[in-house]
Symmetry: C2
Subunit: 295 residues, 2 copies
């Protein structure tokens, strides 16, 4: 067996931590992926303990997946991109964390997504997953649009789409608006049959819970359900407006990433759709690129 210093030569961990899950990769000196790990939510806005546990867990899993001992964590530098740390107070909290890595290079989920999508070059990204936001990085200057969180922001995100649908279904159960097939789809998804049961099922639930309803809303919209169509189109119009704001900064390229991307793309304005390029690498590789730039 090699000694640790040889084993870990050139290795980096890249982490992308969001509101739903945390992804980690272990890469070698050529950025080839040796192992991957996935764990739970890692947005410190929703809890510091949960976030730090998820980050450590995903990294340990990536090491084990690559055939390494998880004990090597302390010998490998990590790039960590996290949702929520665009808020200075959360950035400071996470940056002061007694992390398990050799070094930790902390960045926003937006920056690592952009660096990954455009292989470390200037560009713009829109992220539509559990949350939503836009980010542009040109000539060393970054700008964020959105990224405000749930329930006060994140329009066009999975959580927003799910919450809007839930509100509309509750109005229909109160006979204040006409029910549509979305009503049955949501009740069936939640395994409830009336407003009281539905409120019990959704009360106090976090963004990730609502984001799980987004798929059925898009499905209903594809079947021309008028309520679902209105929700999806309003969300997509917001994302299109974000894209146009980002494009005023003249990024060479713009990509749409996140779990909702394939569903929402057809609803974006045609000029925005034409500008979109597929991302080169996923955000967790952007975290590696960031860490190598910093290290």
């Amino acid at each position: 067996m090699l000694d640790d210093s040889n084993k870990v030569q050139g290795l980096f961990i890249g982490i992308d931590g969001g509101g739903t899950k945390c992804k980690a990769i272990l890469v070698n000196e050529h950025n080839h992926i040796l192992g991957t790990g996935i764990s739970g939510p890692a947005n410190p806005l929703h809890g510091f303990e949960q976030a730090t546990q998820s980050i450590t867990e995903s990294a340990r899993l990536a090491l084990i997946d690559a055939g390494y001992s998880a004990n090597l964590l302390a010998s490998i530098p990590a790039g960590v991109g996290l949702a929520g740390v665009n808020l200075p107070v959360l950035f400071d909290q996470m940056n002061n964390w007694q992390h398990p890595f050799k070094d930790m290079h902390l960045a926003t989920d937006l920056l690592i997504a952009c660096l990954g999508a455009h292989n470390g070059q200037d560009g713009a990204v829109m992220i539509t997953g559990t949350g939503s936001c836009g980010f542009v990085h040109v000539d060393g200057v970054s700008e964020i649009v959105g990224a405000h969180g749930f329930p006060h922001g994140d329009k066009g995100s999975g959580a927003w789409v799910g919450l809007q649908a839930a509100k509309q279904v509750l109005l229909s159960l109160d006979e204040l608006v006409e029910p549509t097939l979305l009503t049955d789809a949501v009740l069936s998804h939640l395994a409830v049959s009336n407003a009281v049961e539905m409120v019990e099922a959704i009360a106090g639930k976090p963004a990730a819970f609502y984001a799980q309803m987004a798929g059925l809303v898009f499905e209903a919209a594809q079947k021309d359900d008028p309520v679902a169509t209105a929700v999806v189109q309003e969300g997509a119009d917001y994302i299109s407006r974000v894209a146009k704001r980002l494009l005023t900064k003249q990024p060479p390229n713009i990509s749409l990433i996140g779990g909702l991307g394939p569903l929402i793309t057809p609803w974006l304005s045609p000029d925005v759709q034409q500008r979109l390029v597929p991302p080169t690498f996923p955000p967790e590789m952007g975290a590696v690129i960031f860490a190598r730039q910093q290290a």
Copy 2:
């Protein structure tokens, strides 16, 4: 000094517990108010411990206000009306509470509000405070419209108005919509100056926090601020629709109660405004009326 059994003869405690505060009254056999007490939030949806502490505290304060020892709590029956207990799971939880009263008669905040507003007779109420809902009680049959909670329901409530305003202000700070005087009013209220600071100030905040912003939104609407006007009118239109649904059940009278009532009434549809009668008694007296009916 009289012995306890004489002192408490005919006394009742009436409690109205909502998302923002808990009010208690101590009344004599003629329902004359001997003392009042106010404490913190008492909606068990937002925490059982907090709710039960607020209920006990408000009742103790009412006894002390009346010149009685708080130890007499165990000798006096109480009517307790609470937000949240329209959900069966919360009703059961609260009803199984080892309460400090002689007896506890538990009802929804809606029923006690309606009994109070119409002095124990049939009628309907709409409540617009931190939350919103409608309730009608005719010929022994009750129906609830709304009362779904925050952030998925409670349209037209103070929390809803505040949240809508916050969303619009964030969009204006991202330069996705034009700022209006509402933007400055909200930033000033929160003592922040940009989107990042604003998100730090509002992230994870409960309904009561947003309800505190409702007043400035109505103020801006009265000055013809277009964004504030659109928010207020959408909320008021919902309350008008709730009223019309309740009126289909032919209640003899309908009242609008809750802290937002005076602000939102002028925005309701004229036919709804004409039907509104002032409430006879406040909800905490409705809790006493309920307890006497049950005792």
